[in-house]
Protein backbone atom coordinates (compact mmCIF):
# COMPACT_ATOMS: atom_id res chain seq x y z
CA UNK A 1 0.00 0.00 0.00
CA UNK A 2 1.22 3.49 -0.67
CA UNK A 3 0.25 6.85 0.70
CA UNK A 4 -2.57 7.43 -1.79
CA UNK A 5 -4.36 4.17 -1.07
CA UNK A 6 -3.72 4.70 2.61
CA UNK A 7 -5.42 8.05 2.65
CA UNK A 8 -8.48 6.68 0.89
CA UNK A 9 -8.64 3.68 3.16
CA UNK A 10 -8.20 5.51 6.43
CA UNK A 11 -10.18 8.51 5.26
CA UNK A 12 -13.19 6.40 4.44
CA UNK A 13 -12.76 4.56 7.74
CA UNK A 14 -12.86 7.83 9.63
CA UNK A 15 -15.84 8.93 7.60
CA UNK A 16 -17.68 5.70 8.34
CA UNK A 17 -17.06 5.85 12.07
CA UNK A 18 -19.98 8.19 12.84
CA UNK A 19 -22.07 6.59 10.12
CA UNK A 20 -21.64 3.19 11.73
CA UNK A 21 -22.69 4.59 15.07
CA UNK A 22 -25.84 6.04 13.59
CA UNK A 23 -26.48 2.88 11.65
CA UNK A 24 -26.16 0.78 14.79
CA UNK A 25 -28.45 3.10 16.67
CA UNK A 26 -31.04 2.91 13.93
CA UNK A 27 -30.74 -0.85 13.97
CA UNK A 28 -31.46 -1.01 17.65
CA UNK A 29 -34.33 1.35 17.25
CA UNK A 30 -35.59 -0.58 14.25
CA UNK A 31 -35.52 -3.96 15.91
CA UNK A 32 -37.41 -2.52 18.84
CA UNK A 33 -40.00 -0.91 16.58
CA UNK A 34 -40.43 -4.05 14.57
CA UNK A 35 -38.55 -5.00 11.52
CA UNK A 36 -41.13 -5.30 8.80
CA UNK A 37 -40.86 -4.10 5.27
CA UNK A 38 -43.58 -1.65 5.99
CA UNK A 39 -41.67 -0.12 8.91
CA UNK A 40 -38.41 0.05 7.04
CA UNK A 41 -39.81 1.49 3.90
CA UNK A 42 -41.98 3.85 5.89
CA UNK A 43 -38.90 5.44 7.30
CA UNK A 44 -36.91 5.59 4.14
CA UNK A 45 -39.24 6.14 1.24
CA UNK A 46 -38.73 9.48 -0.32
CA UNK A 47 -36.26 10.68 2.28
CA UNK A 48 -33.40 12.53 0.65
CA UNK A 49 -31.60 12.55 4.00
CA UNK A 50 -31.62 8.76 4.12
CA UNK A 51 -30.51 8.60 0.55
CA UNK A 52 -27.56 10.85 1.28
CA UNK A 53 -26.71 8.99 4.44
CA UNK A 54 -26.71 5.53 2.96
CA UNK A 55 -25.31 6.72 -0.33
CA UNK A 56 -22.25 8.08 1.42
CA UNK A 57 -22.00 4.94 3.48
CA UNK A 58 -22.10 2.73 0.44
CA UNK A 59 -19.43 4.64 -1.43
CA UNK A 60 -17.16 4.86 1.61
CA UNK A 61 -17.58 1.17 2.43
CA UNK A 62 -16.92 0.18 -1.16
CA UNK A 63 -13.68 2.14 -1.30
CA UNK A 64 -12.61 1.11 2.16
CA UNK A 65 -13.33 -2.56 1.77
CA UNK A 66 -11.84 -2.89 -1.69
CA UNK A 67 -8.53 -1.38 -0.61
CA UNK A 68 -8.58 -3.59 2.49
CA UNK A 69 -9.20 -6.68 0.41
CA UNK A 70 -6.49 -5.64 -1.99
CA UNK A 71 -3.93 -5.70 0.82
CA UNK A 72 -5.13 -9.05 2.00
CA UNK A 73 -4.93 -10.51 -1.50
CA UNK A 74 -1.33 -9.36 -1.85
CA UNK A 75 -0.33 -10.68 1.54
CA UNK A 76 -2.25 -13.89 1.85
CA UNK A 77 -2.69 -15.17 -1.69
CA UNK A 78 -0.10 -15.60 -4.41
CA UNK A 79 -1.48 -12.55 -6.16
CA UNK A 80 0.77 -9.76 -7.40
CA UNK A 81 0.03 -6.05 -7.10
CA UNK A 82 -1.54 -5.65 -10.53
CA UNK A 83 -3.91 -8.59 -10.22
CA UNK A 84 -4.86 -7.55 -6.71
CA UNK A 85 -5.66 -4.05 -7.94
CA UNK A 86 -7.83 -5.53 -10.67
CA UNK A 87 -9.71 -7.90 -8.37
CA UNK A 88 -10.27 -5.37 -5.63
CA UNK A 89 -11.47 -2.69 -8.04
CA UNK A 90 -13.95 -5.29 -9.24
CA UNK A 91 -15.14 -5.75 -5.69
CA UNK A 92 -15.40 -2.01 -5.20
CA UNK A 93 -17.48 -1.54 -8.33
CA UNK A 94 -19.72 -4.46 -7.39
CA UNK A 95 -20.30 -2.96 -3.94
CA UNK A 96 -21.13 0.44 -5.37
CA UNK A 97 -23.56 -1.00 -7.91
CA UNK A 98 -25.34 -3.25 -5.45
CA UNK A 99 -25.31 -0.54 -2.83
CA UNK A 100 -26.71 2.07 -5.19
CA UNK A 101 -29.41 -0.38 -6.20
CA UNK A 102 -30.28 -1.01 -2.55
CA UNK A 103 -30.47 2.68 -1.72
CA UNK A 104 -32.55 3.30 -4.79
CA UNK A 105 -34.82 0.44 -3.80
CA UNK A 106 -35.55 1.59 -0.29
CA UNK A 107 -35.79 5.29 -1.03
CA UNK A 108 -37.23 5.76 -4.47
CA UNK A 109 -38.74 2.53 -5.70
Amino acid sequence: MNVRLYIWQRGTAALMAPLVLIHLAVMFYATRQGLTAHDILGRTRGSIAWAMFYGTFVVAAAIHASIGIRNILVEWLPVRDRAAAFLSSGLGILLILLGARAVFAVVFA
Binding site: A14, T36, G99, R101, A102, A109
Partner: protein, 116 residues
Amino acid sequence: MSAPPRPYRRNALWIAAMVHRVSGIGLALFLPLHFLALGLSLQGAARLDSFLRWTDIPLIKLAEGGLVFLLGVHFLGGLRVLFVENFDWRVNQFRVATAAGGAAAMLAFAFLIQVL
Protein backbone atom coordinates in the same frame (compact mmCIF):
# COMPACT_ATOMS: atom_id res chain seq x y z
CA MET B 1 11.71 -19.82 4.74
CA SER B 2 12.62 -22.17 7.50
CA ALA B 3 9.87 -24.25 8.96
CA PRO B 4 9.90 -23.66 12.73
CA PRO B 5 6.47 -23.00 14.21
CA ARG B 6 5.78 -19.46 15.34
CA PRO B 7 3.93 -19.25 18.60
CA TYR B 8 4.96 -15.60 18.75
CA ARG B 9 1.72 -14.96 16.95
CA ARG B 10 0.03 -15.43 20.29
CA ASN B 11 0.98 -11.84 21.02
CA ALA B 12 -2.26 -10.09 22.06
CA LEU B 13 -1.90 -7.15 19.71
CA TRP B 14 -1.23 -9.47 16.80
CA ILE B 15 -4.45 -11.28 17.63
CA ALA B 16 -6.24 -7.94 17.73
CA ALA B 17 -4.96 -7.23 14.21
CA MET B 18 -6.10 -10.64 13.00
CA VAL B 19 -9.56 -10.23 14.52
CA HIS B 20 -9.75 -6.91 12.75
CA ARG B 21 -8.75 -8.44 9.47
CA VAL B 22 -11.06 -11.41 9.70
CA SER B 23 -14.00 -9.22 10.71
CA GLY B 24 -13.17 -6.96 7.77
CA ILE B 25 -13.29 -9.91 5.40
CA GLY B 26 -16.51 -11.04 7.01
CA LEU B 27 -18.06 -7.63 6.51
CA ALA B 28 -16.86 -7.40 2.95
CA LEU B 29 -18.48 -10.75 2.22
CA PHE B 30 -21.70 -9.85 4.00
CA LEU B 31 -22.14 -6.42 2.49
CA PRO B 32 -23.16 -7.57 -1.04
CA LEU B 33 -25.73 -9.90 0.54
CA HIS B 34 -27.08 -7.08 2.66
CA PHE B 35 -27.43 -4.87 -0.39
CA LEU B 36 -29.14 -7.66 -2.32
CA ALA B 37 -31.61 -8.13 0.50
CA LEU B 38 -32.51 -4.47 0.59
CA GLY B 39 -32.72 -4.53 -3.17
CA LEU B 40 -35.53 -7.02 -2.85
CA SER B 41 -37.91 -4.18 -2.15
CA LEU B 42 -37.59 -3.33 -5.82
CA GLN B 43 -39.85 -6.33 -6.28
CA GLY B 44 -42.30 -4.93 -3.76
CA ALA B 45 -42.63 -4.70 -0.03
CA ALA B 46 -44.10 -8.18 0.19
CA ARG B 47 -40.98 -9.72 -1.26
CA LEU B 48 -38.86 -7.95 1.33
CA ASP B 49 -41.23 -8.97 4.06
CA SER B 50 -41.07 -12.61 3.20
CA PHE B 51 -37.31 -12.30 3.37
CA LEU B 52 -37.46 -10.55 6.70
CA ARG B 53 -39.73 -13.25 8.09
CA TRP B 54 -37.28 -15.84 6.97
CA THR B 55 -34.70 -13.97 9.01
CA ASP B 56 -36.81 -14.57 12.11
CA ILE B 57 -35.45 -18.08 12.35
CA PRO B 58 -33.23 -18.12 15.47
CA LEU B 59 -30.25 -19.40 13.58
CA ILE B 60 -30.43 -16.48 11.24
CA LYS B 61 -30.91 -14.15 14.17
CA LEU B 62 -27.78 -15.56 15.67
CA ALA B 63 -25.96 -14.96 12.42
CA GLU B 64 -27.18 -11.38 12.45
CA GLY B 65 -25.94 -11.02 15.98
CA GLY B 66 -22.64 -12.28 14.65
CA LEU B 67 -22.66 -9.63 11.99
CA VAL B 68 -23.30 -6.91 14.48
CA PHE B 69 -20.45 -8.31 16.46
CA LEU B 70 -18.22 -8.21 13.37
CA LEU B 71 -19.20 -4.65 12.65
CA GLY B 72 -18.67 -3.81 16.32
CA VAL B 73 -15.20 -5.30 16.66
CA HIS B 74 -14.14 -4.03 13.31
CA PHE B 75 -15.39 -0.58 14.13
CA LEU B 76 -13.74 -0.47 17.54
CA GLY B 77 -10.57 -2.20 16.33
CA GLY B 78 -10.48 0.23 13.44
CA LEU B 79 -10.82 3.15 15.81
CA ARG B 80 -7.95 1.71 17.81
CA VAL B 81 -5.76 1.64 14.71
CA LEU B 82 -6.77 5.15 13.80
CA PHE B 83 -5.88 6.31 17.29
CA VAL B 84 -2.55 4.52 17.32
CA GLU B 85 -1.67 6.02 13.99
CA ASN B 86 -2.86 9.50 14.65
CA PHE B 87 -2.54 10.18 18.34
CA ASP B 88 0.17 9.40 20.80
CA TRP B 89 -1.64 6.45 22.20
CA ARG B 90 0.84 3.72 21.90
CA VAL B 91 1.20 2.48 25.43
CA ASN B 92 -1.19 0.04 27.03
CA GLN B 93 -2.48 -1.05 23.67
CA PHE B 94 -3.15 -4.44 25.10
CA ARG B 95 -5.84 -3.08 27.38
CA VAL B 96 -7.35 -0.99 24.61
CA ALA B 97 -7.52 -4.03 22.36
CA THR B 98 -9.19 -6.13 25.00
CA ALA B 99 -11.61 -3.36 25.84
CA ALA B 100 -12.52 -3.02 22.18
CA GLY B 101 -13.20 -6.74 21.90
CA GLY B 102 -15.23 -6.70 25.10
CA ALA B 103 -17.30 -3.70 24.09
CA ALA B 104 -18.07 -5.27 20.75
CA ALA B 105 -19.15 -8.50 22.40
CA MET B 106 -21.46 -6.58 24.71
CA LEU B 107 -22.91 -4.70 21.81
CA ALA B 108 -23.60 -7.92 19.96
CA PHE B 109 -25.13 -9.46 23.06
CA ALA B 110 -27.39 -6.48 23.56
CA PHE B 111 -28.45 -6.75 19.97
CA LEU B 112 -29.19 -10.44 20.33
CA ILE B 113 -31.35 -9.83 23.37
CA GLN B 114 -33.21 -7.20 21.40
CA VAL B 115 -33.98 -9.39 18.46
CA LEU B 116 -34.56 -12.77 20.08
